[in-house]
Symmetry: C2
Subunit: 200 residues, 2 copies
């Protein structure tokens, strides 16, 4: 096969982890440029200045490669410091969720979910669940408990539906209404929905 | 063209509206049986025991036919009578929304949105917006105002985000979590989210 490890440009000598990073970056770039359907292992190899064999040694299929690129490149939500009120804490977390969705890997994941056929949809839905929704639920639960301890959240705000309100609202406006979440929209949603919902 | 109005089975004589109903029913049936991608004007014509020409005289394309079938067959949300409390009123509306989503045309619309390519997605998103989301927002706004008049909803529950909470939650569980909405889940969501959010 032509596309072996020797086909890379002369002078470019990359070892395992470095080459792997270059391939994953090239996969995300291809995804942004041509979408899921038109993305090929050949195109990614060429973007990473390596051969197809280097890709297939690591990822048996395009879906494996793209899933790995998204999983390793999606920014984590990170910890929200105590900003003094549940209102400020939740606002900060929503801005963070919005920024992850807007990030290059976040947008690439959106493209994949939109374009891929049902045989791959389950895998990428699982990826967005474990990389974004599940951590969002966990963080919201923590901020609400922090509010209960602080005294600005009612003590019985503990049910399983509560942590879904914010991701549900954010997804709904983005998907159904096709609207962007500006900072001011996030603040309005927190004041109109989350603050009354959680108040003592 | 072979598939003319004369190709229908002998003894079946249908005039305009009756034939149109048969075609729209056949379109929904085909959608349920083979999905959006495999649906053909020929298959629908055969299902309705008529010819392709009868379809093309009315609908220039498969997208036009399917959009019309969904628009005319999706059950309306209907009015919710005053059940004595905002809790009962919203519960009844949520059950209704769930039932529309679960109806044969509701599931067919789901299939189309999942399968169709981006050039058609806008049209079918518009259809679900005007047939389900927009009426849901309007009905929720009315039930909340009824609660304000009744006295079991705080008078300032008037912001634009409030009417999105229920459809957002319902879509989120169905799409992201992949869960069914049983009656008990709806009741729990109303008690855990909507009642505290609206209480005086």
């Amino acid at each position: 096969m032509m596309g072996s490890r020797w086909s890379q440009a002369p002078g470019v000598r990359r070892r395992g982890p470095e080459l792997e990073r270059a391939i994953l970056d090239a996969a995300l770039e291809q995804l942004g440029a041509v979408g899921w359907n038109a993305l090929t292992m050949e195109g990614v190899a060429s973007g990473a200045r390596t051969g197809k064999a280097a890709l297939y040694r690591r990822w048996p299929s395009k879906a494996d490669l793209v899933a790995d690129a998204l999983r390793t490149r999606l920014p984590p939500l990170g910890q929200i410091p105590d900003l003094g009120s549940v209102r400020e804490d939740l606002y900060a977390l929503c801005v963070r969720i919005r920024d992850v969705m807007r990030s290059r890997p976040g947008q690439a994941l959106h493209v994949v979910l939109h374009e891929c056929d049902p045989s791959h949809a389950g895998r990428f839905h699982g990826l967005i669940w474990s990389a974004l929704h599940e951590p969002a639920h966990r963080h919201i639960g923590e901020l609400v408990r922090r509010g209960i301890d602080r005294g600005d959240v009612r003590p019985d705000a503990t049910g399983p539906f509560l942590v879904e309100v914010i991701p549900a609202m954010m997804m709904y406006r983005a998907k159904v209404c096709g609207s962007e979440w500006r900072d001011a929209d996030i603040a309005e949603m927190i004041d109109e929905v989350m603050v009354p919902l959680l108040r003592v």
